[in-house]
């Protein structure tokens, strides 16, 4: 038995005879059975998505009559489904190209606004001394537990009828129409994202070294200057992490869009249109499969390329607490 402790990493996988006790334990946990089970789980987890993906390229009559697995014995590939669901003539085709643009138009400002405001607020709550600071932070933290369902009805009224107190109109109705309704959606997404964004970014910002901040203050830097030149560059990874998080959340959202965007192809995002297709044309599998794949394409690309940051954003909120 060796008494030295070589570096942890790699001991379990590089040799058949692990030299450390830790390695041996790990070896035992990673028996062949465990490996096989984990591969099986990974395959089971991927098959539904894979089946959808394969189906989306099969001709309509094939999708509707045979299972996607027959593709391997009788491979027939077509892009017609995509052509149809993106640019199709008929009203039932999906016309997803237009909704795809809506999703983009909704998502970009809905990510930028909460990020900017949350970063500013998180900085103030962490490093600017003013009375009641802790109370404001606790208040914002507590708002996380308000389900957004609690805010929907009155917020919609706020947009559609304005604010009137005792007969005095404090704010007129916004009376947004068609494309202008995007503004409502941005507004709603921004409000709903703030508590969590501030909480996560506050975790990062308050962990910056105190000496750094004090040194900057001694040098005569004002808060805005410290914020722009010191804090922002240091927390860019955290901002990126939350940005991805918010991007996925907004892109994948259905509820907020249903209520604030309206159902038309002027403003509704992909998710709304897809849910509609799934409801009314539940048997048009050629459209549903290709449509669903179009809607998950962008988040998948974002997810696969920026996975590391996404994980960091998740862990900031959960493991550190």
């Amino acid at each position: 038995m060796t008494t030295t402790t070589p570096p942890l990493a790699g001991t379990a996988t590089t040799s058949d005879q692990p030299k450390t006790t830790v390695g041996r334990v790990r070896k035992r946990l990673n028996t062949r059975a465990a490996t096989i089970v984990s591969i099986v789980i990974a395959v089971v987890w991927t098959i539904p998505t894979f089946g959808l993906f394969v189906s989306s390229f099969r001709p309509e009559d094939q999708i509707k009559t045979t299972g996607w697995w027959t593709f391997f014995t009788d491979p027939q590939v077509t892009l017609d489904n995509y052509q149809d669901v993106l640019f199709g003539q008929s009203a039932s085709s999906g016309q997803l190209a237009s909704y795809f643009i809506n999703s983009l138009v909704i998502t970009i400002p809905s990510v930028l606004f909460p990020l900017a405001f949350a970063t500013l607020a998180a900085y103030a709550l962490a490093w600017i001394n003013f009375r009641g600071r802790d109370w404001v932070y606790i208040g914002i933290f507590a708002l996380q537990i308000v389900p957004l369902q609690m805010a929907l009805v009155p917020l919609l009224r706020f947009f559609s009828t304005g604010v009137t107190v005792g007969g005095v109109t404090l704010m007129p109705a916004w009376q947004l129409e068609d494309e202008q309704r995007f503004i409502q959606v941005w507004f709603a997404h921004t409000c709903f994202a703030l508590p969590l964004a501030i909480f996560l970014l506050h975790n990062f910002i308050s962990q910056l070294p105190t000496e750094l901040m004090e040194a900057a203050r001694v040098d005569g830097a004002t808060h805005p200057k410290i914020f722009r030149t010191i804090v922002l560059p240091l927390i860019t990874p955290a901002i990126a992490a939350f940005g991805i998080f918010q991007f996925l959340w907004v892109w994948n959202d259905l509820l907020v869009a249903l209520i604030f965007a309206g159902g038309g192809n002027e403003t509704a995002p992909l998710t709304v249109r897809l849910a509609e297709l799934a409801g009314t044309r539940g048997n048009d599998w050629q459209r549903l499969t290709s449509g669903a794949f179009i809607s998950i394409l962008v988040p998948l690309i974002v997810f696969l390329s920026l996975q590391r940051y996404f994980v960091r954003g998740l862990l900031a909120g959960s493991v550190k607490g």
Binding site: T46, Q95, V105, P109, Y123, L143, C191, T267, L274, V319
Partner: protein, 350 residues
Amino acid sequence: MNFEFADEAPKLMILLYGLVAFVVVVGGLLFLLDAVPTWFARRRDARLIAASASGGTVTIGRLKPREGVLGLFFLLPTVLLLLIGLVVPAVRTLVLSFMDSDGTNWVGLANYDWMFSQDEIVKVLTNTLLWVILVPLIATSIGLIYAVMVDKARFESIAKSLIFMPMAISFVGAGIIWKFVYAYRSEEQDQIGLLNQIVVFFGGEPRQWLLNAPLNTLLLIVVMVWIQAGFAMVVLSAAIKAIPADIVEAARLDGVNAWQMFWRVTLPSIRPALIVVVVTISIATLKVFDIVRTMTNGNYETGVVANEMYNQAFRAGETGQGSALAVILFVLVVPIVIYQIRNLRKQREV
């Protein structure tokens, strides 16, 4: 082709306005933050010079710009948005839940009374309970088992990505993916849904999976588990990797086997992360709406609170009843969150 780029131009214009607004608001705020303290500083300097020129002394209130004012500027947009978008509406929803469908007359507890007296709604409540018990339990277990099994395996990162991937897929997308898995064709035809194909392969009869309660609710729960297990796995995997090596080694020297290692070392060490995962998934599950809406639209006794709330408030026009359901959702979330906060505080003290 039904797609004219010109039709899309107004949308892109709105996007442009949005981006301009972003630059103006955020840029303007940063500018103000820079300019206001400088202005105060300059005025102070001017007064100092004037005072020294006249030979008198001047009392200066503060030498530094007021921190409170500055903090207010940093916080202003956030506080305003939260008040308008969350605080006031939440209070208003609470009030509306005691009013009739127009929100004009007080009806006392009638909406809550309705909730617990209608069989359908009671069904919705029990379904929600089923979701919130099963999803966190199963998703966390699978995530935990998987995190332990693939830890330090050769294919770890790919395997983890595969499980984690559903996190990136919208609930609507996931709903369609699984509707396809559950798809039904009558016995004479070839099956196109994987599940029925498996059933047929083993000699069974194909079934309409999503039509029969309570099985359909369980099958919807599968979708949520499919999405959330990856989240549990990623967080728990990070927690497992953070267990100090000397603890593992000490346990090993004491001669524990893999089973004991898991129950006596791994599990207690990752307990905080475990709680966070369960709580987070529970809250997400309580609010689940998209899956139910996409797959069954709450029919065939599959409704849940969040979904029913939408139906009542935005489709049936029963604002009072919808609001009451939203309040119930809030009431259900609160104890879970309080439990988590208490746990976090306990850990901090230890």
